[in-house]
Every structure is written in structure tokens, then in C-alpha cells.
Symmetry: C2
Subunit: 323 residues, 2 copies
């Protein structure tokens, strides 16, 4: 089986790669369990996952020649993770459109050239939702994004469904919660703080929280998101009806509660490293995202949420800090 991960050098992509390699097999679009022959990690920077089954391709997915090298005709599955994050897509409209919409469409069009319609897992986001919504948000809530990132992901979902319906791909759009705790540096995602307020204090560094303590967010740990991406990939096509979009499980938590969980686990001195300083731009974006969902399809497929935020912090400490 030949599997492609776009954004394969990123934090989520490289961890997904390791999990797929450790599993050793996935189920293809015809329902057959097959071993991983080649795992292609495509990104603008080179991926580094040492394994004989890994191929690394570096370049811009918007380049048709590169896309042909990445998605060869014998490709069975694609995890499309490459994207410009929410804050950048809002600040740089054209960049967001090019990466989040044009590159996604080019990838989907490329799939029509393959020997068999591939499975395609599209990483969408809770950011497709915005405006007045039921609380909690049901699976069939209307999609009215209030950010350009959300708009671009919503358009990707429509394309994934329509091209699935046409038989060009076997697509699945996974609306991911805010992922926390991400390792590494802050990025231009409006949700970057959700990792920063845990990660930085644990490393002895102050972190600014740009939203109010009472702000509620819908979160998932990287471990859980990756497990859910695999569940979404493995789900048989017959599990779906008139949409291929899945609200991925998460937990709802207040930002203040996240810091209190940090305090319980790491102590007062660590928790006090979080400084509260409202950023109206980030606060506006985050406030358009619903914070509580009632997912039905995702759990029915076998997706799960983290038990609580304390366990998310502990997983970060174990996975990333090696303590």
C-alpha cells in the first residue's frame, strides 16, 4: 500500500507517520487490509522519519510536477494535512486561498488520474462553524464559517463530498478540535495559545494568553487526534450517507480551567507564568468557534475523546518532555 501524508514534516504529520509505520497496515478503499509498502511524506520542508518505507518529497503542492511525483498513479491513501493556519489565513487572504483551497483542489483533481479512487482523509476543522449555533453543536449543524480559514476548509469539505459522490475519491473530512499540547514554537494559528499556555510554563518560559479566562474551547490531544484520523481512514465507505464530514470528538474546557489543571500538575510557580493579555484579533477569531459538540457519527465509527485535560497535560509531559 502506498500512502501519502501532505504536511508530512509537520508536528501532526510526522507523528501520524510514526503511528502508521508502527501499525504496519491500513485498510484500502476496497476494504482490504494491506501492509504499508511506501509512506510518502510531502512538505515544503524535508520530513525526517527514519524508516526504510518512508520517501520524503520536498516542495510546493501547488506545483503540478511535484504533485505528480507525490501522488503517483499507484497511490492508495492520502492524508491531506498541509494547510496555512487560521491566523495566517485571516491576515493573508491570498496565501490562505492558494494553500488551503487551490492546493487542496489540485490534489483532489490529481486523484482522478489514479489507477483506483484513493481514500482521502482531509483535515478540516471546527472552524467551519461560526455564528449562532445550538449548544452543544450537533453533527448536522449548519456550516457558516466566520473566518477565511474556516471558509477554505468548508469549501474543501464540499469538494471532498462531491468528488466522493462522483466516485473520483473515497473521501472523509475530519473536523478537528483545537489540538493541545503541541510541542515546539508558537505558530500563526489563532489557537496557538492553547498549547503555549501549557508548553511554555512547563519549560520555564512565560506565556501570554490572548483570550479571556472564561473562554471555552473544544480540544483534543495530539495522540487522540492521530488515533481518530486513523479511525476516520479505516471506516468503510458504507458508514457514510449524505455527507463525508465528521465532527471529531474532543473535550470542552475553559481556558482558566486549563491553567488550573497545569497548576494541579506542575504547581503554582509554573501556572503563574501564564500572563493574561487580551489580543482582540485572536479573541475575535477564537470566539467564532463553538466550544462544545455532541458528536454522534465520530464515536459510532470508534473515535474517542481524551478523558480530561489533566491527562492531556500528562501525555504531553510523557511524550514530549520524556518525564
Amino acid at each position: 500500500m502506498r500512502i501519502v501524508i501532505t504536511g508530512g514534516a509537520g508536528f501532526l504529520g510526522s507523528r501520524l507517520a510514526r503511528v502508521i509505520l508502527a501499525r504496519g497496515s491500513l485498510t484500502d478503499a476496497s476494504g482490504e487490509k494491506r501492509s504499508v509498502r511506501e509512506l510518502v511524506l510531502a512538505d515544503v520542508v524535508p520530513a525526517t522519519v527514519p524508516d526504510s518505507r518512508v520517501s520524503v518529497v520536498t516542495g510546493d503542492l501547488g506545483d503540478p510536477a511535484l504533485l505528480e511525483r507525490v501522488v503517483t498513479v499507484d497511490t492508495d491513501s492520502i492524508f491531506h494535512l498541509a494547510a496555512v493556519v487560521s491566523g495566517q489565513a485571516e491576515a493573508e487572504f491570498d496565501v490562505g486561498m492558494r494553500v488551503n483551497l487551490d492546493a487542496t483542489r489540485a490534489l483532489l483533481e490529481r486523484c482522478r488520474k489514479l489507477a483506483k479512487p484513493p481514500k482521502l482523509v482531509f483535515t478540516s476543522s471546527l472552524a467551519v462553524f461560526g455564528g449562532p449555533l445550538p449548544d452543544p453543536v450537533p453533527d448536522d449543524a449548519p456550516v457558516t464559517p466566520q473566518t477565511s480559514y474556516g471558509a477554505q476548509k468548508a469549501i474543501g469539505e464540499v469538494l471532498v463530498y462531491d468528488m466522493t459522490r462522483k466516485g473520483y475519491i473515497d473521501g472523509r473530512s475530519m473536523r478537528l478540535p483545537t489540538i493541545t499540547v503541541r510541542p515546539g514554537k508558537p505558530n500563526k494559528a489563532a489557537s496557538s495559545f492553547a498549547s503555549g499556555i501549557i508548553r511554555e510554563p512547563l519549560s520555564g518560559v512565560d506565556a501570554i494568553c490572548p483570550v479571556a479566562r472564561h473562554t471555552q474551547i473544544w480540544v483534543s490531544s495530539p495522540r487522540t487526534v492521530i488515533a481518530n484520523l486513523i479511525v476516520g481512514h479505516e471506516a468503510p465507505a458504507a458508514s457514510f450517507a449524505h455527507t463525508r464530514s465528521i465532527n471529531v470528538p474532543g473535550i470542552s474546557i475553559g481556558v482558566g480551567e486549563m491553567v488550573e489543571a497545569l497548576r494541579r500538575i506542575a504547581g503554582d510557580a509554573v501556572a503563574e507564568r501564564v500572563k493574561w493579555q487580551l489580543d482582540p484579533v485572536i479573541d475575535r477569531i477564537v470566539s467564532t468557534w463553538p466550544a462544545r459538540f455532541a458528536p454522534v457519527l465520530g464515536p459510532a465509527l470508534g473515535m474517542r475523546a481524551d478523558p480530561d485535560f489533566d491527562s492531556i497535560i500528562r501525555a504531553y509531559i510523557a511524550d514530549e518532555l520524556g518525564r
Copy 2:
């Protein structure tokens, strides 16, 4: 005021042009009522509306040079009617994507170059809806199109809203009912029969109805749709909140009832010219469209529905047959 109608040579575009010319003025994006200085009718075939204020531009909107000529920097309002119809978009996926998505996006991008953000009326369709839905369909029903035409229109709506939110345009997406009775020839719209089963018999010609008698559809007369397009254009930006999409009023009627209305008005011999012959492709497309809506925003803005189907037939006879 400089106003552009794309698809301006079409049935709806040319009638909209005449109504705008007769009104003589529209309200611009700043809320000012201004007289129509120039009305540009752009289409792949030349429009013929004799009026000194009319300019005719012929060509493909996908051509950037043509688009610059059509949408000059001093343009105040655009009615974007140009589209590939539902049956063709389903049969020729690439043509639908190019005309319904790429040309719409190019038009929206062009708007960013204008002196002032223009008003833009995007003709969307009830075809953005599909799958299980409440009956009647509320304004905030989820958009899960089950045809490529509906998918392309749904994507256009997301772009119109996001670019409105960004301040690039003052957009309004009008989800039109099936329009009947259209004059002229049958076209590749899956809903073409909804006009054909009235128009052809009234002209002494047999018409094939490709869907079952009990099929319910949501319809509006051309007159009423044009009046509603103007209402949508005139509505102040403050009338909208987290979406610019409007479910345009219509009436719900069974296809068999439409033929019975024809019988009441034109007699048995005319009604008997309708032949029932199921076409599974058309029946599938039409069956994905909801047939009954409960529009709230549209009527609040001043949009209206035809009183009944008899009056729709009578309007066709008066407007198009001159009887």
C-alpha cells in the same frame, strides 16, 4: 451608477435588465439611490436589449481581459447570473467547475480591484440543499448539496460571504426556486421539465415529464424571481448577520398539480400533451432538492412568492404569448 449583469443575454438576465432600466435607479452599497448610467450585459452570446444605457460585451468571463472590460473599476453593482445549469454540471463536471466555480471566483477577485466594494448579487439555488432536511426547510438548514451544481453554488456562497466579511464586496447570495414558466427551448437544467410541461402544451407541442406526478417542487415565476433579485440587491447590508445567503420565497407544488392547473386554464387537450416518462438521472437530481421552505429573512426583506400556480401560468400566457 454602472451595473453589470453576467448571463445578461439569457432569459432571466435580459428580463432583469428591462426591469432595472424601467426602474431607472438602484441603491448603491453606500445606501444612496442613484440613476442607472450604464447597464452592461455580459454573456457568451450578444444580448439584445435596445436602450441607450445598455452596453453589450460578448465573451467568456473566465478570460481575465474580458473580465476587466466587463467589470471596470467604476462598477457599482453586479448581478452574477452566468452559470452552467444543473444537468450539464452533473454530466460535465469540469465544465461546471470552470464556469460555476472558477468564473465566479475570478469575478469576486476582480471586485477587489474596484474603486469601491460593489454590491454583488449571486444567483445561488435551492440545489445547495440535499439529503435529510426538516420539512419545511428553515433558513438555517445545513447545506449538503447532492449534485455538482449544488456543490458549486454552495462554494460560491461561502466565497461571497467570506469576501463580504473581509470588506471586498457587499454580497448577497439568493437561493432561487425552480423558475417556471421559462420561455424558449428546453435546456440542460434537470428542472427544465418544470417549464416544458406548461410551455410546450400551450404551444401545441407534446412534452415529456421525466419525474413522477407526485414529485413536489419549489417554484417561482420569472416575474417574481426578478422582483426578488431586486429586493435582495436593495436590502441594506445591516439586514444581514452571519450569512449572506437568502432562501428566496416560492410555492410548493406537485408536478401532477401543475398539469391540473394547466388543464383548468387551457383545457383537457392541452393538458393531455404532457407524457409521463421517468428519466432516472433527472429524477435522482430533482429528488435531492427540498420542495418546501419556510423562508423568514427573504420575506422580512420584502421578497414575495407567487399567490398560486394558476397565476404563474396566466403570467406566462400574458408575458410571453401575449394573450
